[in-house]
């Protein structure tokens, strides 16, 4: 065994186990112990997979364990239970995402809400955060749910609301009979009343926070107009709303 931190990966899905083993070994610098469905193995110094003998197994003390929920039945095996329980932290994952803790899990086990089908299911930065958190051990100050990979993302309420208003505006444009209410959709007030009552003067910042990266121009232009920070020519409003709706649709579906 080397001086590197150890991570244990329990996953009977061969391709995903291999991808995760390479990620944790080659990119994140861990000594990786894996368990498929019958035996523990680790990589030798030459990079070959070796089955761990009982005496080597007794020395394993993983900093963290990544445990595929579909293989939870393995936890009933005494040998597996012993190694998992010796891990400082256990993080459950699955190929379709997990919604919360299950009764058969150990106490204080955490879970990845999103689907994990391989290395590409999270960015290297997100994996790195998890790896650092494992290394920090019990002294680590990071709250587990502040790690991006473990966080349960809130629905972007304001983006959804603006998307709904865009839909209302465009549907109203297509209506043959224009009622007074429908005619109001072209006024700034129609948009701003609900949004500014909730967000107040922070609307633009709130949208920026919910978006999470550079807000596309049509969305930013529309939001700044709603907030009263800029103008949009009446002739440009329809195009701006159409473009903003497209951008919002893609963002919300992520």
């Amino acid at each position: 065994m080397t001086g590197k931190g150890q991570v244990l990966i329990i996953d009977s899905t061969g391709n995903r186990r291999k991808e995760l083993r390479e990620l944790w070994s080659n990119v994140l610098g861990y000594e990786v112990v894996t368990y498929g469905d019958s035996e523990f193995s680790s990589l030798s110094s030459s990079g070959r997979s070796e089955i761990l003998a009982a005496d080597a197994l007794s020395k394993i003390q993983p900093l963290g364990c990544l445990f595929h929920h579909g293989d939870i039945a393995q936890y009933k095996e005494l040998e597996v239970k012993k190694v998992v329980d010796s891990s400082q932290r256990v993080v459950m994952f699955s190929g379709v995402g997990l919604s919360g803790p299950k009764p058969e899990w150990g106490k204080n086990w955490l879970w990845i809400p999103r689907a994990i089908t391989g290395r590409g299911s999270a960015s290297d930065r997100e994996w790195r955060q998890l790896a650092d958190w494992f290394k920090a051990g019990t002294a680590g100050t990071a709250n587990a749910r502040s790690l991006e990979l473990l966080s349960v993302k809130k629905r972007p309420q304001f983006l959804i609301a603006i998307y709904i208003l865009c839909q209302g505006f465009l549907a109203a444009e297509g209506m043959r009979v224009k009622t007074t209410a429908v005619g109001q959709t072209r006024t700034r007030e129609w948009w701003s009343v609900p949004l500014l009552k909730s967000a107040g003067p922070t609307l633009v910042n709130t949208v920026r926070q919910e978006w999470g990266e550079a807000v596309p121009d049509p969305v930013l232009r529309l939001v700044r107009w709603i907030a009263g920070e800029s103008d949009i020519e009446d002739s440009e409003l329809s195009k701006t709303v159409t473009d903003a709706k497209k951008e919002l649709e893609c963002r919300i579906a992520k």
Binding site: L98, I160, I164, A181, P194, L195, K197, I252, K254
Partner: protein
């Protein structure tokens, strides 16, 4: 994750994908003779039990899909709860109708109910055949019934996985 989506994920992943489908595969091995176990007892304690737990929840899932997921619900919370009455008169209903049409929500629920009925029929049919099953006789009927059950369960699982964030707005 909303309560509805949590129920969907639990049914799709925990019960159908990880329990019902493997239990059906195991039953095929039992009937084939590659796994030694009592066929009817194994079927009752694995397939029947899991399906009895899954089927009522599936009905609830399809019934609640439209009321639970409709974007009309966003008008009951911030920020759209502040829309004036003149907007509330038409926008929530319009948004709901657009959503139902865009995602074919009713079609998805109807197909889901039909797939669940298909699994139910396949479970009953396999159970009946297993009650009369004699290991020394021809296994074709029983194996056929189990394969139909496996296929129906995979179809239902796939159908449930088609919904991700797609339905959310």
């Amino acid at each position: 994750m909303s309560d509805w989506n949590e129920l969907r994920a639990r049914l799709s992943h925990d019960l159908i994908k990880n329990r019902l489908i493997p239990a059906t595969s195991r039953m095929i091995k039992v009937v084939n003779g590659s796994v030694l176990a009592d066929p009817l007892e194994t079927f009752d304690t694995t397939v029947t039990v899991v399906w009895a737990e899954t089927n009522p929840s599936l009905k609830l899932l399809f019934e609640c899909c439209e009321p639970d997921l409709t974007p009309r619900n966003y008008f009951a919370v911030e920020p759209l709860v502040h829309c004036p009455p003149s907007t509330m008169e038409w926008l929530p209903d319009l948004i709901h109708e657009l959503w139902v049409e865009r995602h074919d929500v009713r079609g998805w629920c109807k197909s889901g109910c039909a797939l669940a009925e298909g699994v139910d029929t396949a479970v009953q049919s396999a159970s009946e055949l297993l009650k009369r099953y004699d290991a020394d006789e021809d296994k074709t009927d029983v194996l056929g019934a189990l394969l139909r059950l496996q296929e129906a369960a995979i179809g239902l699982s796939t159908h449930l996985s088609l919904v991700g964030n797609r339905f959310m707005i």
